[in-house]
């Protein structure tokens, strides 16, 4: 028998590997057969069959036997698995860290996590790809997660279809949320600057915010010593959408198939505000890089006020307890663009269940456990976020004057969480911000004008949206 030479061995190995690779690129999973038409993009119709929704099982939860995968984002979730297993001993729950690359790999392998804790901003995107299980029957029969007990913000997880979010079927629930337009004040720094600190009984306009920011910013020579204002600049597009929502408008038109900046004066005005703040070095930007993040600027005393929600109060208690004790830190209602009061969560975190799950009942038990039972109560007591159920608001910390103050503002703002940010289902959650900030940096450097910046942003977004539409 002729023996295999080394050269032949290596040649055969390469061929085998190539064959394995090509075999791995097998036909894509067959899309669902379509029966009922639901209009999604303007030029395309995605016909989605109303598949039979799994009905909650009559099996007592303690008798449910299954293995499920929970993709979560924190160490807390890992601990949760242990307590969940103690309650449901026959359900084996495996925890995996939430990671976009891992999630994509699991999706590509046709083996998505059964339960995923993530941002609600991704709901339209996932719905468009028919990834989510309709949980309405589970909510209708749940003793813990009652539909009428769901806070308004849970509407981020309700949808008629991917472009109509807010009512309809329930695809998940909130883990915790915050009215993100609120602003945290450091009265001591306002006093130091000789500027009157806003009270929590009123609501500033964005013009007033800009005016105060100009008075608060502090330079020594060319060196910036204190920002005039701080906010999560990765949310510039979302704050603009909020501003437009006050006027009954949106950044996207034609059912999300087009971004509309250049032809909308109000969108231009909103972006102009944020651009001016950056150009005048009132806020961190490519001209004035932040040493940390907007919250870190606040705790380091580099800014007298920062736009963050209820949860930030708990962060301050942990980070700068001395200043909290002094009573100089407090939260005020979110600003308004046009006089209309709106304050919703930018994108609360919550739970969804994959449509491909092989154990929907077990997956539901995990979701219900984390979202509506003991873990939710424990989370509420930390004050690091507002629970998704109204009945759990009572567990939020209210012992100290500090906690009582932020609780009162939160409750007031919770009534204003009536409108949701319309996230585009055809592009990623942060796509707009990445495109916008790229051109904003060029505009701030004087390489392009403000109008060019809007034009380029709109053009590139429309290209990306079109790719997303064409892909489907």
């Amino acid at each position: 028998m002729k023996t295999l030479s080394r050269r032949d061995f290596l040649r055969m190995s390469a061929l085998t590997a190539a064959g394995a690779a090509l075999a791995g690129c097998g036909p894509a999973p067959t899309p669902q057969i379509l029966k009922e038409t639901v209009e999604v993009p303007v030029e395309q119709t995605v016909v989605v069959e109303p598949t039979a929704v799994p009905q909650p099982t009559a099996i007592p939860p303690e008798e449910l036997e299954a293995t499920i995968v929970y993709m979560g984002i924190s160490d807390e979730s890992k601990r949760l698995i242990d307590t969940f297993s103690a309650r449901y001993p026959k359900i084996t729950a495996e925890f995996v860290d939430d990671d976009p690359t891992r999630f994509a790999a699991m999706m590509a392998a046709g083996n998505p996590p059964d339960v995923r804790s993530g941002s609600s901003a991704q709901i339209p995107y996932m719905l468009l790809r028919d990834w989510l299980l309709d949980l309405t029957p589970y909510f209708e029969t749940s003793d813990a997660a009652k539909i009428d007990d769901l806070a308004l913000v849970n509407n981020y997880f309700r949808a008629q279809d991917p472009v109509h979010i807010g009512d309809g079927k329930i695809y998940g629930m909130v883990k915790d949320w915050s009215p993100d337009r609120c602003i945290w004040i450091n009265r001591a720094l306002f006093d130091e600057a000789g500027v009157e600190a806003p009270e929590d009984t009123g609501r500033l306009t964005y013009d007033e915010v800009l005016d105060k920011a100009r008075k608060l910013v502090k330079f020594e020579g060319d060196r910036l010593m204190r920002f005039g204002f701080s906010y999560n600049t990765a949310w510039t597009d979302r704050f603009t959408i909020f501003n437009l929502m006050e006027l009954g408008k949106s950044l996207y038109v034609d059912e999300f198939t087009r971004a509309n900046l250049v032809n909308d004066e109000d969108a231009q005005a909103s972006f102009r505000l944020f651009f001016d703040m950056a150009q005048e070095k009132l806020v961190a930007s490519s001209l004035v890089p932040s040493p940390s993040w907007s919250g870190g600027e606040f705790t380091a005393g580099l800014t007298p006020w920062a736009q963050w929600g209820y949860w930030f109060g708990a962060f301050l208690k942990d980070s700068i307890p001395d200043q909290v004790e002094q009573g100089t830190l407090y939260m005020i209602p979110g600003p308004t663009w046009s006089g209309v009061a709106l304050n919703n969560s930018i994108g609360p975190f919550g739970f969804v269940i994959s449509k491909a799950t092989k154990a929907p009942d077990a997956a539901w038990r995990l979701l219900e456990w984390d979202g509506a039972l003991e873990p939710a109560v424990d989370r509420a007591k930390t004050g690091y976020g507002v629970p998704g159920l109204k009945s759990m608001y009572q567990y939020l910390p209210q012992e100290s004057a500090y906690d009582q103050q932020r609780y009162n503002i939160m409750m007031q703002e919770a009534e204003l969480a009536t409108q949701l940010i319309p996230y585009n289902p055809f592009v990623g959650e942060f796509t707009f911000n990445e495109v916008w900030s790229k051109y904003m940096a060029q505009a701030l450097n004087g390489e392009i004008t403000f109008d060019d910046m809007l034009q380029k942003t709109e053009e590139e977004m429309n290209i990306l949206i079109k790719e997303g539409v064409d892909r489907l």
């Binding site: 690779a21 950056a278 592009v427």
Partner: protein, 324 residues
């Protein structure tokens, strides 16, 4: 009945065959870990990447995958941003590679001298190479912050109100400096090993023949170091094209830090642009096409460098067709 007896030659052949077979098995056993790793983690991903570059894959949705042929490649050549970032990468390599080679070689020369405490210095210079990149970038980012960093505070002591825009206007300078800080140690170690491989007798013979130090360096040390220089040049070029972590972490990458994840234009490198295409815009097909173009360019350039070695690389042992 007669039994055929093996002839002496046949016995010898069997013994040889058995030994040869054992050697063959041993060979395959020894290389199998590497081979399996290379195939599983190198060859297969390469092929999958090539196949992905021919589709419109968005990284998540296989149900709507479409074959687009060479559209992604055509797009790359028409993409002004891709061209721009390729140009910036060329500039980055033109600055960083020679600087790294020269400075690490000089460091190795200095630390090859018989000086007291040179071991400590060698350790100190090598230390940055072992610090995890992410941690190092975070520290440098705070250190170099234009207004609030340590450098700003130090400049303020000398001239109050001074701002040196390390992370904005002088981003290229900062990135080059931090890159050299992190990479010199490794280069120094390799050059040091090469220097210590130079036979002392050759240098002594040159001195005896009347050569002064610089002549010894030029006519003995440099020629004998050309194989090491060649190796360092190749890995530096390959590394330079793949530079990604440094500009992204030092100058961008945090969502709440004002400017998305796009670094300043001066240091907007090809790999950062490719990262954006893949993970921000979810254009996996286009992103992998960009990667394959980069791979091709790096391969061609490396082969070119290999071809030039016949003119300037000297090997002590003559090998056919290579060096002088």
């Amino acid at each position: 009945m007669s039994t055929a007896q093996p002839m002496h030659g046949q016995v010898g052949w069997r013994l040889l065959s058995s030994r040869s077979r054992r050697k063959r098995i041993t060979f395959y056993l020894f290389i199998s870990p590497w081979l399996i790793g290379f195939v599983a983690l190198g060859a297969i991903p390469l092929v999958l990447g090539l196949l992905t570059s021919l589709t419109n894959y968005d990284g998540m949705d296989l149900a709507h995958l479409k074959f687009v042929g060479l559209d992604n490649y055509a797009r790359a050549f028409a993409d002004s941003e891709a061209t721009f970032t390729a140009g910036r990468t060329a500039v980055w390599i033109a600055i960083n590679t020679p600087a790294w080679l020269v400075i690490s070689f000089l460091l190795a020369l200095i630390l090859n001298q018989e000086v007291r405490g040179r071991g400590i210095f060698r350790t100190l210079y090598y230390l940055p190479s072992v610090i995890p990149a992410v941690a190092a970038m975070w520290v440098w980012k705070i250190f170099l912050n234009d207004n609030f960093g340590l450098m700003a505070a130090m400049a303020d002591l000398i001239r109050p109100g001074t701002v040196i825009p390390w992370l904005t206007k002088y981003a290229l300078v900062s990135v080059t400096f931090v890159s050299l800080w992190g990479g010199l140690g490794l280069g120094m170690v390799v050059f040091l090993a090469g220097l210590q491989g130079i036979p002392r007798e050759l240098e002594e013979a040159a001195v005896i023949d009347g050569a002064h130090q610089f002549q010894v360096f030029r006519h003995v040390t440099i020629p004998l170091m050309t194989p090491v220089i060649f190796f360092q040049l190749v890995i530096s070029l390959i590394g330079g094209f793949q530079t990604f972590v440094l500009p992204l972490l030092l100058l961008g990458g945090q969502r709440d830090l004002a400017y998305g994840s796009t670094p300043p234009r001066s240091i907007y490198l090809y790999m950062v642009y490719t990262y954006h295409q893949l993970f921000v815009y979810q254009r996996f097909g286009y992103g992998t096409a960009l990667l394959w173009i980069l791979f091709t360019v790096v391969l061609v350039l490396t082969l070119l460098v290999f071809w030039t070695q016949r003119y300037w690389v000297y090997y002590e042992v003559e090998t056919q067709g290579e060096g002088r």
